[in-house]
């Protein structure tokens, strides 16, 4: 945990002390990057560091969908299923991915390589259909494009 505290201290320089509570989400996101997923202990650790109520951080942890609370694969494939992408073939593509990876949306491949998720609007409506793999956006998708993207990921 101590190397995390060091990173926390760096971030703390940006925030005036009277608004230190604003660091809750950034610290959760920072910890998520380090650890891959978060538990209540992580929430309590952050709460103690910031001297804010533990329950405040716990509630935040459970409320935001990007804060994973269970281990995910090395690559998280997030396919947008909102209206524009649905009109442009999301159903077809998620079926393709599910078939190719051998898992249902929500699941992780047995080798731990991929987690497949359906997410809501990625604001790529003009370049639909779209997905996000880890941080990277991939837009105007086709089955072939998806296959190529997956191949390049270890």
């Amino acid at each position: 945990m101590s190397c995390l505290t060091h990173k926390f201290d760096e971030l703390r320089k940006i925030y005036p002390e009277e608004i230190k509570s604003s660091m809750v989400l950034p610290l959760l996101q920072l910890t998520l990057k380090e650890k891959g997923h978060l538990t209540e202990s992580d929430a309590v650790f952050i709460a103690d560091y910031l001297e804010v109520p533990s329950m405040q951080v716990k509630e935040a942890l459970t409320w935001y969908t990007m804060l994973y609370r269970a281990p995910v694969g090395r690559h998280v494939v997030k396919v947008c299923r909102s209206i524009a992408c649905s009109l442009c073939g999301e159903e077809r593509l998620i079926a393709h991915l599910a078939n190719k990876l051998g898992i249902k949306p929500g699941g992780t491949t047995p080798d731990g390589r991929f987690t497949l998720l359906e997410v809501e609007c990625l604001a790529s409506c003009g370049t639909a259909p779209a997905m996000q793999v880890n941080d990277t956006y991939h837009e105007q998708l086709t089955e072939e494009k998806i296959d190529r993207i997956l191949e390049e990921l270890s």
Binding site: E59, T62, T65, L87, C121, C125
Partner: protein, 429 residues
């Protein structure tokens, strides 16, 4: 490019988002002029003269919102709402990826006008390129003395802190955003008190959309009166209209307010893919009531006209739906969205969005029963106006409007257990 453009004023290159490119096209001159020659109240007056209305979706006059700010407080905050999450909307992304300095300059102008020294940008946690380009632009701005203590050597100082969202559409609602910036789950807040009186950390706060703020440099450079000449009398200026769905050339188009829907769809976006007929248009993001092809025949893209037609110009995200699309299945995509995004705080939205989704899902799976349409209508009535924030209404309006315009499809699906169309959402070409 014509001077009637605020955003599409340059050729997009690999470098157009960088500081030097922004300066080459006149960037930061408005800020310089404001700091050297204008008082904050004069900046506010220019904005008032422009008639600028918020670009986030609600369309509230910006200068009026600014004027609500409580006077004489020790601290003021400005929050830039960059949590672009309304399905069909992707314009704020455009600003981050191609002209982030335009937003920064706009924020600085607003902070100067309002006496704000600490401001925030709350940006979608999912945004990748947008975030990286924004952070780079902030770095450039700091290094160039455009941000921080003593902006451009003046007495005005201003900081911008970027907070990333973490996957919640409701955080685009201004009071939910404040909760999130303060380090809580994004529960919206009851009003009163309003953010202009007690907002972020109980200080008077203004929340503006990215596009709204990024319009300010143009207004200050060319004058509010010049801006007011563009668009319509009550709804001035241009907007970054996005068009998506079943069109040939989906994407971003900056047009003056008052531009005809048909022109955007058929001329700019190349018409319906596969040469199909137009069936329906959702004019301003998924929360706005759906319109039929007839409804938009002569309709123009301005707030008053669209309101008169029974919908809203909203976030300017036009979603085009072609003949043959199953409106029942399409509605289920929407109800699923709102049920997922409801924050859970208040009874009508928490229960109502989940309930509507269950009913519409059941109908779209062929298990609809008599009374389902009436049930849905009752739920929308029970939600609208009775929730803490507008997400309830945003969830109810699509349901209500789909049932008004396409009731026969729902009745058919319920009676026959299958779609009136082939059930597809994608166009078969």
């Amino acid at each position: 490019m014509t001077s009637r453009r605020v955003f599409f004023t340059f050729e997009i290159t690999e470098e157009s988002h960088l500081l030097h490119a922004y300066r080459e096209r006149g960037g930061y001159q408005a800020l310089e002029k404001a700091l050297r020659e204008m008082q904050p109240a004069e900046v506010q007056a220019e904005v008032a003269a422009s008639g600028l209305r918020g670009r986030g979706g609600a369309g509230f006059p910006t200068a009026t919102k600014w004027s609500f700010l409580a006077k004489g407080a020790p601290v003021y905050y400005l929050c830039c709402n960059a949590d672009e999450g309304e399905p069909g909307t992707f314009k704020d992304r455009w600003v981050f990826e191609h002209s982030p300095h335009q937003l920064i300059e706009g924020m600085l102008l607003a902070c100067y006008a309002l006496g704000v020294r600490h401001s925030f940008i709350y940006i979608r946690g999912e945004f990748d390129l947008s975030y990286r380009r924004l952070m780079h632009a902030l770095k450039e701005a700091r290094e160039a003395g455009l941000l921080g203590d003593s902006v451009l050597g003046s007495a005005f100082s201003c900081q911008i802190i970027v907070q990333q969202g973490a996957g919640a559409y409701v955080c685009g609602e201004e009071s939910s955003m404040l909760s999130s910036i303060e380090g809580f789950k994004g529960y919206p807040r009851n009003k009163p008190p309003f953010p202009a009186v007690k907002g972020l950390y109980q200080a008077p706060t203004v929340i503006n959309n990215v596009e709204t703020l990024a319009t300010l440099p143009w207004i200050l450079a060319k004058g509010g009166a010049a801006y007011a000449k563009i668009g319509t009398e009550k709804n001035s200026g241009t907007r970054l209209f996005g068009i998506s769905g079943h069109v040939q050339r989906p994407g971003m188009y900056e047009r003056a307010i008052g531009y005809p829907f048909k022109k955007l769809i058929y001329q700019d976006a190349g018409g319906i893919a596969g040469g199909k007929a137009l069936k329906a248009v959702i004019p301003g993001g998924s929360s706005t009531p759906v319109l039929t092809a007839e409804d938009i025949e002569t309709l123009t893209m301005d707030a008053e006209a669209v309101a008169a037609a029974g919908s809203m110009l909203g976030s300017g995200g036009v979603i085009v739906i072609a003949e043959g699309t199953c409106m029942v299945r399409l509605l289920q995509v929407l109800t699923r969205f709102y049920a997922h995004e409801s924050c859970g705080q208040c009874i009508p939205c928490r229960e109502g969005t989940a309930w509507m989704n269950k009913i519409v899902a059941r109908i779209s799976e062929g298990r609809g029963v008599a009374g389902d349409i009436e049930r849905l209508e009752g739920i929308t009535t029970g939600i609208m106006g009775n929730t803490i924030c507008a997400l309830g209404a945003a969830a109810a309006m699509p349901v209500a409007s789909f049932l008004i315009k396409f009731r026969h499809e729902f009745a058919y699906f319920i009676e026959h257990g299958r779609s009136l169309n082939d059930g597809r959402l994608e166009i078969k070409i």
